[in-house]
């Protein structure tokens, strides 16, 4: 198996365990480069993952810009709360981010905890 393929498999395993640990709160998740290219994703086929990945990179870029202009240190989490759920972005390192789509009423505290662990694992895989 190629390095890229085994890396994708390892990332998919992280996304799967994230979904498993959050017991149905996760509607989808993805690992994306900070310039918007998808590395791994678990989303329904109804979602255009290439587009969503670029959007996630844009959102993180803007979040980091806000943090920088207000001199508030690093961005740790960006939450978009919608009528029917959440889209949350966690920076993993300087190269990539973790994006998580949660159902309405999903447990944000648990997501934060689990996503932190997932981000650490992703960082290990991507370095």
């Amino acid at each position: 198996m190629s390095i890229a393929a085994s890396r994708t498999e390892a990332l998919n395993a992280v996304l799967d365990s994230l979904a498993l640990n959050l017991g149905g709160d996760v509607l989808g998740s993805a690992v994306v480069s900070v310039d918007g290219i998808v590395f791994a994703a678990r989303f329904s086929s109804a979602v255009n993952i290439d587009r969503l990945s670029a959007i996630a990179a844009t959102v993180l870029g803007v979040s980091r810009r806000v943090a920088k202009d207000l001199i508030m240190g690093n961005t740790r989490e960006t939450i978009i709360q919608c009528d029917n759920g959440y889209f949350v972005i966690y920076p993993v390192n300087e190269k990539c981010l973790l994006a998580v789509n949660l159902r309405k009423g999903g447990n944000l505290g648990m997501v934060r905890l689990e996503s932190g662990d997932a981000a650490d694992r992703i960082s290990g895989i991507m370095s």
């Binding site: 900070v34 310039d35 587009r51 990179a57 810009r65 202009d69």
Partner: protein, 184 residues
Amino acid sequence: MAEEPLLNILKIVITGAYAAGKTQFIKTISEIEVVDTEVEASNDEERLFKSHTTVALDFGIITVNEQLALYLFGTPGQERFDFMWEILSLGCIGYVVMVDSCRPAHFKEALGVIRYFTNLTDVPFVVAANKQDDPTALPLDYIRRRLGLAEEIPVLSCVATDRESVKEVLLTLLDRIYELSGTP
């Protein structure tokens, strides 16, 4: 306290394909520190041309005179960010399409950007053929032909690192905006 003079603010978008020099263009002319959103490029093909890329927007301001300031909004170049092209085009009264004069292989992408923008908005635009100081730069009439541009669309020589050159492009765009709106 002195009364503030009436200041018109015009929104101009700086767009174009990947690595055409959009961020540089704004950095060269802006009076404020440019609000950029650059990150490291990860894709090998894209890294060939530069190490960093804009993921959301660039923002700069240039005051033309006491009555007029331009707010410059730079877009990301890659098509995957086309949702930002749409967002940034809202309320713009003219735009600059930047093209790298030395990379004919990318003219197709530039054409894609022009098509996208002309579908989004009817406001006037000019094409800035960047890197015209490079010995390998292709001539303006060739670029015009390759992009299939109508005669009335200005194709301007540009060096994005040169303040006078950037200014000239913006002034030409302004002329065209006034010309088409029928105001002096």
